[in-house]
């Protein structure tokens, strides 16, 4: 299995389809529209990188996810803003205690999972915005170990949460009731399947088949594992700015992987050679 870059779009600049200063989060809806947040805006692109629409957020957005009913959730400091697919603001869930710094959002059924990097755990809400329980908080370290200040996770088809725990150099799996099911990953600098540095991987998503896709910092890499944790392949650092970190990832319905370069403010698109995964 090999992935190769098929296109790059957005980038640093002042044009409507570019980002002037920041690019933090990316999400993809069921119709393969690509939502990116940066510069206190949501920008929506098609798969060719053409800007479809844009709108402002109340505060700078750090992550974006789109639910099955096409509600756009934007994670911010102290709140999550909800928009309809046209960019009209529906409401905001404001909870500085539980939504200190929102860096990832996922869905399963009527559950909305929100990563609070400030308190280093994941909050489980219902669709009405009522808090249900925490995930990853009730342990010896009182949360995930995220020296980068960024917590990322993804939810699979069975409702299992896959969480990047970078200072443990692990991907951990949890039930939505906060039961640790298992983990894979270890520190190492010599084998590509290992996670180097103080704290990797930083970001995570899942393919439709359940493969785990992660990004690392120093050096910036994109890596693929199957659901059991078996290493599949990686894309080397030469395509990204060497100072990149917290590179958010998303996968579309065709298995193409979208990765943010948080320094050059590019969106890189990778496809599996020989077709979708």
């Amino acid at each position: 299995m090999q992935y190769r870059q098929v296109s790059v779009f957005a980038g640093k600049g002042t044009g409507a389809d570019r980002f002037a200063e920041t690019l933090y989060g990316i999400g993809i809806d069921a119709a393969d529209l690509i939502y990116a947040v940066g510069d206190s805006e949501v920008k929506v692109f098609d798969t060719q990188g053409r800007l479809q629409q844009r709108w402002a957020t109340e505060k700078p957005g750090y992550c974006v996810s789109i639910s099955a009913d096409r509600t756009v959730y934007v994670g911010e400091i102290g709140q999550v803003e909800l928009f309809d697919a046209g960019g009209r603001r529906k409401t905001a869930w404001t909870d500085p205690e539980r939504l200190g710094f929102v860096t990832s959002i996922g869905f399963f059924g009527d559950n909305v999972f929100i990563a609070d990097a400030k308190d280093r755990c994941i909050r489980r809400y219902n669709k009405s915005g009522e808090w249900i329980n925490n995930i990853g908080k009730d342990n010896r370290t009182k949360g995930f170990l995220i020296p980068n200040g960024y917590l990322d996770f993804a939810v699979d088809k069975e409702g299992v949460l896959h969480v990047a725990n970078p200072a443990k150099h692990r991907i951990e799996r949890y039930t939505m009731n906060d039961e640790l099911l298992g983990y894979f990953g270890r520190f190492g600098t010599r084998q590509p399947e290992d996670f180097p540095g103080c704290c990797n991987p930083t970001n995570l998503t899942l393919t439709r088949q359940g493969d785990v896709v992660v990004t690392e910092k120093a050096a910036p890499r994109l890596k693929f594992y199957d659901r059991s944790g078996k290493f599949l392949t990686f894309v080397g650092p030469e395509l990204f700015d060497p100072n990149c970190k917290n590179m958010d990832i998303a996968v579309d319905s065709q298995g193409r992987v979208y990765v943010l370069d948080t320094i050059r403010l590019n969106i890189h698109v990778f496809a599996c050679e020989g077709g979708a995964d």
Binding site: T141, P147, C198, A218
Partner: protein, 206 residues
């Protein structure tokens, strides 16, 4: 017998008072000027060990350790605890390129002078080192400011909590600092004492 001061006496007192005032002002001015003389600082935007954009432990520069005129350099590494991630595997403490031991940790330390200590803090799990936070303290009696840990700690590999600082209690404040002469990045600057550290440089380095 009380004699009223004459006009000459009054003028004399006034003249002596004015003289004292001038002398006092001059002394105050000279004292302030002496205290305001320049001190040496490291410009973090120039030092290759600190500035962003250059990574890799093989790139580190040890001129601060090797060229200072005092035996153990006046430059020392300092860990800013407010920025430190307290990671289990700190790339400034461990030589992360070394072999991995049974405990999953690198077997060698990075500091050539063993100047960094690592201590688990809080509710310590003795069985799983990954389950703990760690405090990294730099022994100022061992550190010679070589900058190796600073290079390893800086972003994006680390959090940039370790930096190099000139210790003013050790610096002999040479007019022509040997480190500034040797620094390949022209990273030492002389600034007014009021601005140190982190103030705007007002004098050139050489």
């Amino acid at each position: 017998m009380n004699e009223e001061p004459t006009r000459r006496d009054v003028l004399g007192y006034g003249a002596r008072g004015a003289g004292l005032l001038v002398l006092g002002s001059t002394a105050f001015y000279l004292t302030k000027k002496a205290h305001a003389k320049g001190v040496w600082v490291i410009d973090p935007a120039k030092c290759i060990n600190i500035r962003l954009g250059t990574t890799g432990i093989d790139q580190f520069c040890d001129k601060c350790a090797t060229t200072c005129v005092i035996p153990l350099s006046a430059v020392r590494a300092v860990n800013d605890f407010s920025k430190c991630g307290r990671c289990c595997i700190c790339p400034a403490y461990f030589d992360v390129a070394s072999d991995i031991g049974r405990d999953g940790l690198p077997v060698r330390k990075l500091c050539p002078r063993d100047a960094i200590t690592r201590e688990a803090i809080g509710d310590v799990d003795p069985d799983d080192p990954l389950n703990n936070f760690y405090e990294y303290t730099i022994d100022k009696t061992k550190c010679n400011g070589c900058g190796k840990c600073v290079m390893a700690c800086k972003e994006p590999a680390g959090l940039g909590s370790i930096r190099l600082e000139i210790r003013y209690d050790l610096c002999t404040d040479c007019n022509r600092c040997a480190i500034s002469t040797a620094c390949p990045e022209d990273a030492l600057a002389r600034i007014t004492r009021d601005l140190a550290p982190g103030g705007k440089a007002v004098e050139s380095s050489h």
